[in-house]
Amino acid sequence: MIPFLVFCSLLIPVNLWAAITPHMHSDVSMRILHGVCTVVLLPLLWTLWTQRRLLRPLPALLLAIFATVMVVVNSWITAMGMGVEFGWLDHLFLALSEVALTVFFLMAPDPEPMTEP
């Protein structure tokens, strides 16, 4: 899990650089970046679903909606390629989603051990 979080945290500056310099990356590298950022959000969504009873409802719901929107939008961008309007803004949101993902896995409540009835 720690290597996964380190990897996700490294996507934060990469997305910030991509937002600042939208013309400095190629179409392929941009698709890879959006695709990878989309894939790493899936474990977050899965954990939000499996631990929904343990989490505080409102923040968990907001985070789930945000992550779902990011997954949908960035899947579309990955498929469509460069030329999306306000692409820099999407990179900022991706950086934000990576921050949220890292903070969630560091702070989420520990699930209770399963006990036999």
């Binding site: 934060i12 310099t21 013309h23 989420a108 520990d110 051990p113």
Partner: protein
């Protein structure tokens, strides 16, 4: 079940994890902030520089084409002269026709149309930045010429930004190296700090009352604070050992001093009950209660004295050949005198096994078995049978004391022979918690061992194993 977040406990709960995380955060935030701000400022400066260069070029071009509107050939020649690989100039006449020089790497028609579309009102001096494919262009409607046509300019900014890109790659390499070196350094330093603490933890976990006097923490080297901690720990051990020794001496002395007057009191009580002619039944009952309590207190003092002698290595236990069947018969007879329940003695059918002889102290062995029988009685129903069984296993003689009592919880079985340890399900006011620890002390003093098997609610089986 193991926690799914064990990694988080290791990261956030350990000193090493916390320091590594803090280091990573500092390096990460520092580099992310520095690189992002550096890129942003660098890019803005490059664009500003491009704009300045473009304006200088346009000023020269404007001067050169002045009065050439009627001579398209010369006009195109001048536009070509002031254009280059990065800067493109063109004129849009009133009908929308473009006059543009064709040179190598000149802008595509689509790029020119996009550039003009950013200024639909044809406002002179308005600059726009557009991204075409992988390129960033700085465009401007330079001026409106006297005949109503418009002079446009576009300049590529990407060539300078490539240098910025190279700078970013270099920064990433430097940052990654710094991060790796810093984390490795922190890991080394933290391990150096934590290693003595691990030693301290291991030494503390193995510490018992018996090893207090000899246990010393020997650390080779470490930070000053940790070395100071180890010295303080060793001083604490010395004080504890001294205190423990004094406590044992005190218990031994008190037990010994109290035993003699208590014996006298018990003797007088017994004598008074037997010989007292004019005692009322109530008085006899009161004296009998006093005698029972004095016997109980004397046995408690005996236990304390045995434990104290065992701690100081002065417990006298002789070892001689003992025919176990005889001992068990004696014990059964003695126990039946006080028990109000059946006690079954089960000896082997085989004559050889029945005549088995073990190395033991006969008096101490009887004490052990009587203690176990008394224990079985305490925790069994009133009419439940107690069994005393002699058997053989792997060349050793085993004596089982089996009851049908309340049993011992499985989690407490490993603590049952510890001093002052009583079962969590034991009734109130039953025993001091010393009996089984004395039993273990005496059995081990005879080079034997004791085992216990128990089921909650079904009963317990204590097995004394003696070498033959």
């Amino acid at each position: 079940m193991a926690s799914r977040y064990r990694w988080r406990q290791q990261l956030l709960g350990s000193l090493q994890g916390q320091l590594q995380l803090a280091t990573y955060l500092v390096v990460f935030l520092g580099f992310t902030g520095a690189s992002s701000v550096g890129l942003l400022i660098g890019q803005r400066h490059l664009l500003a520089n491009d704009q300045q260069l473009a304006r200088q070029s346009i000023a020269l071009c404007d001067k050169a084409i002045r009065g050439l509107q009627d001579d398209p050939a010369r006009l195109e020649q001048e536009l070509l002269f002031h254009s280059n690989a990065n800067t493109s100039l063109w004129i849009e006449d009133n009908s929308g026709t473009l006059l543009r020089p064709r040179i190598h790497r000149s802008l595509s028609d689509a790029a020119i149309q996009t550039a003009m579309a950013t200024n639909p009102g044809r406002e002179p001096g308005l600059q726009r930045t557009i991204d075409i494919g992988n390129e960033r262009l700085l465009t401007e409607l330079v001026k409106q010429l006297p005949d109503g046509s418009h002079l446009w300019m576009a300049q590529r900014a990407s060539s300078n930004l490539q240098a910025l890109n190279n700078y970013l790659v270099l920064m990433i390499v430097v940052w990654g190296s710094c991060l790796a070196i810093t984390l490795l350094s922190v890991s080394w330093v933290v391990r150096r700090v934590v290693q003595p603490l691990d030693q301290l933890n291991a030494a503390s976990s193995q510490l018992t009352a018996d090893t207090l006097a000899t246990a010393k923490l020997q650390l080779g080297e470490g930070p000053i604070e940790v070395m100071q901690l180890s010295r303080t720990y060793n001083e604490l051990l010395e004080r504890l050992a001294q205190s423990w020794s004094q406590q044992r001496q005190f218990v031994c002395a008190v037990s010994h001093e109290l035993r003699t007057p208590l014996t006298i009191v018990q003797g007088y009580l017994h004598h008074t009950i037997k010989r007292g002619d004019n005692l009322s039944p109530n008085q006899v009952q009161g004296l009998q209660t006093a005698e029972e309590e004095s016997i109980r207190m004397r046995r408690l003092l005996d236990d304390l004295l045995d434990l104290s002698r065992g701690d100081s290595g002065r417990l006298a236990i002789t070892k001689e050949p003992v025919r176990l069947a005889d001992q068990l018969e004696q014990v059964a007879d003695l126990a039946r005198n006080t028990l109000n329940r059946p006690l079954l003695l089960e000896l082997p059918e085989d004559r050889t096994a029945r005549d088995v002889v073990a190395q033991a102290d006969p008096a101490r062995l009887r004490q052990v078995l009587l203690d176990l029988i008394e224990n079985a009685e305490k925790y069994s129903a009133e009419d439940a049978t107690i069994r005393l069984v002699l058997r053989q296993r792997d060349g050793a003689s085993l004596i089982d004391v089996i009851d049908q009592g309340i049993g011992i919880p499985e989690t407490e079985l490993n603590k049952v022979f510890e001093r002052f340890q009583r079962g969590s399900n034991a009734p109130e006011k039953t025993g001091s918690g010393l009996g089984l620890s004395v039993v273990k002390l005496l059995v081990e003093g005879m080079d034997g061992s004791i085992e216990v098997h128990s089921r909650l609610g079904e009963g317990s089986c204590f097995t004394v194993v003696l070498p033959t």
